[in-house]
Symmetry: C2
Subunit: 201 residues, 2 copies
Amino acid sequence: MGELRDSKKRETRQRISDVATKLFFARGFEAVTIEEIAAAAKVSKMTVFNYFARKEELFLDREDEVKQLLHRALAERPKGQDPIDALRALVDRLRAEKHPFARVDDQTVGWWRIVAASASLKARVRDIGDEAVEALAVELAGPRADGLARLVAGMIVLTWRTAYAEAVRVFAGGGSARKASATFVELIDRGFAAVRGLADR
Amino acid sequence: MGELRDSKKRETRQRISDVATKLFFARGFEAVTIEEIAAAAKVSKMTVFNYFARKEELFLDREDEVKQLLHRALAERPKGQDPIDALRALVDRLRAEKHPFARVDDQTVGWWRIVAASASLKARVRDIGDEAVEALAVELAGPRADGLARLVAGMIVLTWRTAYAEAVRVFAGGGSARKASATFVELIDRGFAAVRGLADR
DNA sequence: CGAGAAACTTGTACTCGGTACAAATTTTGT
DNA sequence: ACAAAATTTGTACCGAGTACAAGTTTCTCG
């Protein structure tokens, strides 16, 4: 029932992605062309576009994971738990698991440096954030989410993004991983506290 | 001293901008090419790029105004006034002046519809917002702005953006201008209240 | 197994935003 | 009126992304 075909596709997709990642790390995002990636992956340019609709997806392939994590943290939270507490717990869980969304080390900073150097990657990251906001608003308030729900969702994502960016800044500026981590947690707590005040009433 | 040259330049720039705006309103942003704009303005494609570095600038030419307004509101505020109070006062001032950044009517909604229909325009709007956040953080905390300052600045801009977007949504969904305006103000007040809680301590 | 259908890949040719650069034109100061 | 400076233009180019038809591989089913 399409075993071989499927495995070949997965393999091809993975090969393209790997090759692209390696090239991007070596020379930056803008400096690598799709044609180069195609050649290095022994595939045609068209095939690259078959698997990845835009160039940015070759570097940002964890798009859905963001929404998944937020969704599951809320859906599977203990009965009666405040949504913001559930997200705060998610932060701790991801830190414990050394998940890249809640951790700053040489690898993630290297990754982030490449994003920061490319306008189109930065734009795409913001885009993913906006999608997460919308999804989160729906998660929090149902399909008829209102402005307040969107503001709450926006602040949660903003807090996460800002805390992460600040941790990267600290780490890249020579701070220890411990210090970067402390910065991350402190900003998360501050931001989430503000959101709690907003959601009440 | 270059009178004629300067006035010609201003005239040309204005003509290109006007022609582009008209075309964008008629057919949307993506559907209009730079070459068309150049032809309609009786100028070469290269000249268009001489005046506007990217296509998006042809539609979003109030970039600096955002930063200007924020800067002046803070710089010229009464001595001892809280920065957030100063920005809250700016909102009222802009509303009184019917400034498009704080007002929703047929014209501004038409303008937003075009932005919303174009991925690259939306990206550019977010970009401008991010620049405003950075500028605001510096404004609030000086050139050595820290994570908290950036979080505060981010929340202020997010609140404004969300309140505006929500007002547009209400208005475009058939709500009266009065109702849209009330939505705008309510979200601004909620968001700013949360920011006040964040900034203290 | 073999043949035709379905799925995937490829080449080609194209559009559009944007850049490089040198030639042509216009404006300016003298 | 003339040379220098600033502006505009044409031409040629690059890279992302699309359209489409033709080629190749894999699957399905008799």
